[in-house]
Subunit: 543 residues, 2 copies
């Protein structure tokens, strides 16, 4: 079992009950489990037009997550990726449809057409006013007579729901929703298949490839394309949409197919905002999971011509928390940096020997990036190498404007640079180390004494001592041995770093959250980095 | 590249710009990219208390996604899983802090403590009123002196933000936020590690196991436990929380660590609502992604004693769409099924020969479940076998109440049963088939003619003909050959089913969305199922 479910059979009913439990009383379901899975507004009095949508499950929050004031009146849920039965659809219609009638929205799949169509016929035969709207917004196969219904369904439902909530007639609601349905165009791209409960995951999309033109049931996309970047994936999508967009303003809906992280979805929003179609997109819905394929790492973009009135309906407040709103799509607004952050001024100076030592240290950290990341992943978050490499790159970039010929100023400047560019605990601790060492050197301390002063300050602010499994375990003995020469310091640093592999009860840093069995036999990455640096200095003929 | 990013280096800045683009003008950022990554409210006039939060990125929507009216005033973002620099934090404080002062909220990690602490000191030295609040809600390691900050941070921020928006003083805001921070207790569980941009994914958690007591930086949980079901995972979490909860009402926050699907999160909400602590939980926030570990398939539960006033602050409307609200946690409400769904009444009757044939057919579909699912996965959504097996189980359950001795009634009853229990396109098409066949038989047609009438009706409603790669490709020739005996019908069905492997341009059903190369060489699962059934009947000595 690789998902949080109890069984394939109970997945949908469990999820519906969970949704209702966490709805604060806004939702209810018909008493027809397990065959009849219909979620309804619990405050519904049938005085307004009912909006009923449905289809297979596995697309959460669609559709049950959109039941609520100003959106759907009822959602009819099938099993995962399977249409609900005729009886289930009929139950949903009958439960919420009063004299004002019902707009039945479905996606264009054979099963849904058959089941919803028969249910609508039966409801009409029982005297209910039912209009049926079939959404087919897919453009993956432009010559398909029956395009599939995808995330454009959400735009249709929201416009219909806002109008119905305002008291509009069935004909008015239907006409506005049909206009959105006619205008909506959707295409998606994915980097991986989804995990269907109870079914082995298919490994269909190789690394470096993506599928373009997806359905929402894990069926293969119409083509595989090369994948390198988020911008490239967005361009593949917008290249398909652009020729279909006239010159009128559009709304765009950026849909998470379920498995893309929030970080990725924001990156994709940025890509959309810089894309060739951005100029025609006046408003955006999302990024958000709206019509998912369970946990598919993919996204879709829907575009649709939209008037100010359409946008107002999409932006109208509504009950369901799953609806992300609709706002203008704009360029990133910047504000000027506040005063008070000015760097201290140092006078640049050159010293070839200092430059060589700095270069040697920086090269050591750059070469060790992967090794240190791997070591850090045993006890922390795997970024020690990247953090030190970034610092090394930053210092090398800054090298020409550093006061190389004045040790006190140089330490202060290095401390300031590291505080600016490095981040992370090691960054601030090293900034404190160098700033304090620079202060001591400025007051006439020897090199060894100045570095010892920095070490003392770092211990005090950071709260770590020798034996706590930090870089101090290498730095402390190395600095103590410096008066015996750099080779002795390197040996002391190495011994100290190696000793951290036996420290299984870390007292400071992220390793302190990790249990002993995980730590045993792995050196602390910070201590190892310090030892690598001293060893590089000792092995260099320049010293 | 397995994620939608452009490069590890640009991931956070791209995501911030995407967030701001899609904010409708509500957000801005300081002009300090790439080192200074601070997101601020774009409408801020410094007249109220500023709420500033921050930390490493990779926890989206935390924290930048919560900047907005009634929540955070500014978010200071580090690189992925790395604390922001002192200068970045200081820039964030200075940008939004006016005379009313600033509450600086951070999670208890060494790096954040150092950077935020130094920045707060520098801001105070510049005359700003800054209160600092360190959240440490983790209970994974109960004896840890410095518990980590986790999703409880969101409760702290929301209460602080609501109070600040109402015009409360810094001391009032701080006291209310501190009370929430003191009361919040969080623990999480995960089925997989997360994907850190630019770093190979670690395969640390074997199938059937889960990690309990997670941080939010992909560090290992404090223990691995057996994993079987969502209910079991929730129990592991609530067993840790229960002993720490007194008798006062609590709010619970159900947090998606990033990679659990919406379906799973609703199932977990259902599990929470049935757990041992449910009686003490009066309100719930979520389920929603609030404090993620990028795309980790896991969740955390935070509980915190909450007064009515606290709940009001958590439920207060706010700008950020990422905040899911706070509502009562209740039992699933049900409404009675509507009238009009009554089944037609059939008089049960027994016929041992009919019962045997039905049993043989049902056994055939039960035995073929996995084979048919696998075949369907080549062209559709992989559920043909499960759908038919469910139908077979349902019919066998209903066997005793079927009118076995009356062919016309039996067909009608089977049609009605399949319409009720089966769902999916095949369900409704078979319901139409049997209902029409029953009607014809009732009017005196022979068995073969009655079945032919059913076939004709199914073709008409479904819109498919021979050659369209559907079950009709086997059913049509089989029924035509029935007058030559069941063996001939089986041979015709098999030939028809086999012919579908060469039909690469499907015209009906989900296979019509799949390209030719995907279909070539794979039989249509519906046609194959029909052939299996006729073959089983032909091979049986009972006929």
């Amino acid at each position: 079992m690789t998902q949080f479910i109890n069984s394939r059979e109970d997945a949908v009913t469990d999820a519906i009950d969970g949704l209702i439990r966490a709805s604060g009383g806004a939702l209810a379901r018909l008493d027809g489990f397990p065959h009849i899975k219909v979620v309804v507004r619990n405050d519904w009095d049938k005085s307004k037009v009912a909006i009923v949508c449905g289809g297979g499950s596995g697309h959460e929050p669609s559709h049950a997550g959109f039941v609520g004031k100003g959106l759907l009146t009822a959602a009819v849920c099938g099993d995962i990726f399977a249409s609900p039965s005729v009886d289930a659809v009929l139950a949903g219609i009958l439960a919420v449809t009063g004299d004002a009638g019902c707009l039945l929205v479905l996606k264009n799949y054979t099963g849904d057409r058959l089941n919803f169509g028969l249910a609508a016929e039966r409801a009409r035969a029982m005297g209910r006013k039912v209009n049926m709207l079939i959404v087919g917004d897919d453009i993956a196969l432009p010559d398909l007579a029956q395009p599939r219904g995808l995330a454009g369904t959400l735009l249709v439902n929201k416009v219909a729901g806002a109008l119905a909530e305002s008291g509009a007639s069935l004909d008015t609601v239907t006409a506005a929703a049909q206009k959105i349905s006619d205008g909506a165009r959707t295409i998606g791209v994915s980097l991986d298949t989804c995990t269907i409960p109870g079914t082995p995951k298919e490994d269909r999309i190789p690394n470096g490839r993506a599928e373009l033109g997806l359905g929402i049931h894990n069926e293969p996309g119409v083509e595989q394309i090369d994948y390198a970047t988020a911008d490239g994936a967005m361009q593949a999508v917008t290249d398909k949409l652009a020729p279909l967009m006239g010159d009128t303003p559009h709304v765009a809906l950026l849909n998470n197919l379920g498995g893309a992280s929030e970080l990725e979805m924001s990156i994709l929003a940025n890509a959309l905002g810089q894309s060739s179609i951005a100029g025609k997109v006046s408003a955006i819905v999302g990024p958000a999971p709206l019509m998912t394929s369970i946990d598919m790492r993919g996204f879709s973009v829907t575009v649709c011509p939209a008037t100010d009135e359409d946008i107002a309906h999409l932006a109208a407040p509504c009950g369901p928390a799953a609806w992300p709103g609709c706002v203008g799509l704009g360029a990133p607004v910047t504000q000027p940096m506040p005063d008070g952050l000015a760097m201290l001024d140092f006078t640049p100076s050159a010293d070839p020997q200092v430059a060589k030592i700095m270069g040697l240290i920086c090269d050591t950290f750059l070469a060790a990036e992967a090794e240190l990341n791997t070591l850090d992943a045993k006890s922390g978050d795997g970024d020690t190498g990247s953090t030190l490499a970034a610092a090394a790159r930053g210092l090398m970039d800054a090298s020409d404007r550093l006061p190389q010929a004045d040790t006190a100023q140089l330490f202060g400047a290095v401390g300031q640079e590291l505080g600016q560019i490095m981040g992370g605990s090691s960054g601030i601790l090293l900034a404190i180390f160098f700033t304090a060492a620079g202060e001591a050197a400025g007051q006439g301390a020897s090199l060894q004494d100045a570095l010892q002063a920095g070490l003392a300050r770092m211990k005090s602010v950071g709260g770590a001592a020798v034996g706590d499994r930090t870089m101090i375990d290498a730095l402390d003995p190395a600095l103590a041995a410096m008066d015996q020469g750099i080779a002795a310091a390197a040996r002391a640093a190495r011994a100290g770093a190696d000793s951290t592999a036996d420290i299984v009860q870390a007292k400071a840093g992220r390793a302190s959250y990790v249990n002993a069995a995980q730590l045993k036999g792995h050196r602390d990455p910070g201590a190892h980095a310090v030892a690598l640096m001293f060893e590089a200095l000792a092995q260099s003929s320049q010293l």
